[in-house]
Subunit: 222 residues, 2 copies
Amino acid sequence: MLSYTEENYLKALLKLSFQNEERPEAGTNEMAAYLGVKPATATDMLKKLKEKNLVTYKKYGKILLTDIGRKNGIAILRKHRLWETFLYEKLDFSWDEVHEVAEQLEHIQSAKLVDKLEEFLNFPEFDPHGDPIPKANGDMPAIAKTLLSELNAGQNCKVAAVKDTSTLFLQYLEKLKITIGTRIKVLEVIAFDGSLNIQIENEEPRSVSMKFAESLFINQLP
Amino acid sequence: MLSYTEENYLKALLKLSFQNEERPEAGTNEMAAYLGVKPATATDMLKKLKEKNLVTYKKYGKILLTDIGRKNGIAILRKHRLWETFLYEKLDFSWDEVHEVAEQLEHIQSAKLVDKLEEFLNFPEFDPHGDPIPKANGDMPAIAKTLLSELNAGQNCKVAAVKDTSTLFLQYLEKLKITIGTRIKVLEVIAFDGSLNIQIENEEPRSVSMKFAESLFINQLP
DNA sequence: TAATAAAGTTAGATTAGTCTAACAAATATA
DNA sequence: TATATTTGTTAGACTAATCTAACTTTATTA
Ligand SMILES: [Mn+2]
Ligand SMILES: [Mn+2]
Ligand SMILES: [Mn+2]
Ligand SMILES: [Mn+2]
């Protein structure tokens, strides 16, 4: 049985491993920063996780999830994203409110609960932020990797997921009437500062910053 | 902010106070037994709860919730029973499975979540065991207090709530096709051992023990 | 009422998770 | 390569929640 805290460390390591998939290891400081604890604390926990065979790591070396560690991390992520979907779909939470509560709900221990919840939600593939929801067996749809900022003038796309999940960004998206699935056409790329002129669905054209365009994952349309 | 553990103590004290309403105080050992900890542990926690103005108590004296303590205890109980209802109504849990998971869910911190959940469930008055669900303001429907064992031959009633919520009893009730709201007619009271002959809805008459009859709260019918 | 039993408290220890401050190793840089 | 910087570890302390064992107070009963 894993503690609440151990679960958070495993999920953090998993998320960090997604951040650059070619080198899925993490460092102690990186991990500590991600979790909002001091490096000394992370080192201690690492020893415990290693003892339990959830990570491989040696002193001053990089941290890597074992298969068991990864499996557990994915289970937490699955719960997190299913709960976010529940809050969003069934309880009318907005997409900037779901994360905080799901951080708590993801630790509820009950295999039956997770699977029944998934069924109740009709086996959703993606959470409200467009992130893929792992299946009970650990399978997970591929993650969209193309950013809006990578498109050229004239190209069309659909919003796949948000890279930045901060409240500020999510609320800005709402204001712009952008949500997962929204169609966007790139009208012009401004070389000077990387900003874009875009058309959101059939709205009036408007300009967005490079920072904005680098925070949205999209799927290209023909 | 209350810790997970403090919340459990407050809910325990509240439940104990329901157990005899004329004298709503509890003792240290009673409380420890209820929570499955040692008396020494309960004493320590009591000091902390007193420090936080959640209980009144002095050394070797009885424990009583303050208004704040009571308010907090009721909030936990509200969450517990709403979650039980959710699990039962929406996720097809059986009534002997809901309690364990609700014990965890009741500690999720989010005012919005509780209220939205209540709305989603259509403002239920009672949980799957027939226990009243406190409203957001702390109001609570009256608790049924009459036991099946208090009826005489010829009287009719409806099952209001279960007094015993053990898996063994709940599963036995299922087998007998008894649930909250089921109509029962007392056909005969056996003076020898307090057992009853009863008719459940329109089923064949059958006999139940005194222990059984003392575990069901009912509302009398004319 | 005096002895016994029950109820409740205290002291001291343990475990999980965290911190600060000092130190050590690895990496980058001049 | 020598030094400086970054990264990571250790030692020692703290808090919350728990325990056991010994002790004290209150209640029961002979
Ligand atoms: Mn989230
Ligand atoms: Mn999400
Ligand atoms: Mn319950
Ligand atoms: Mn209940």
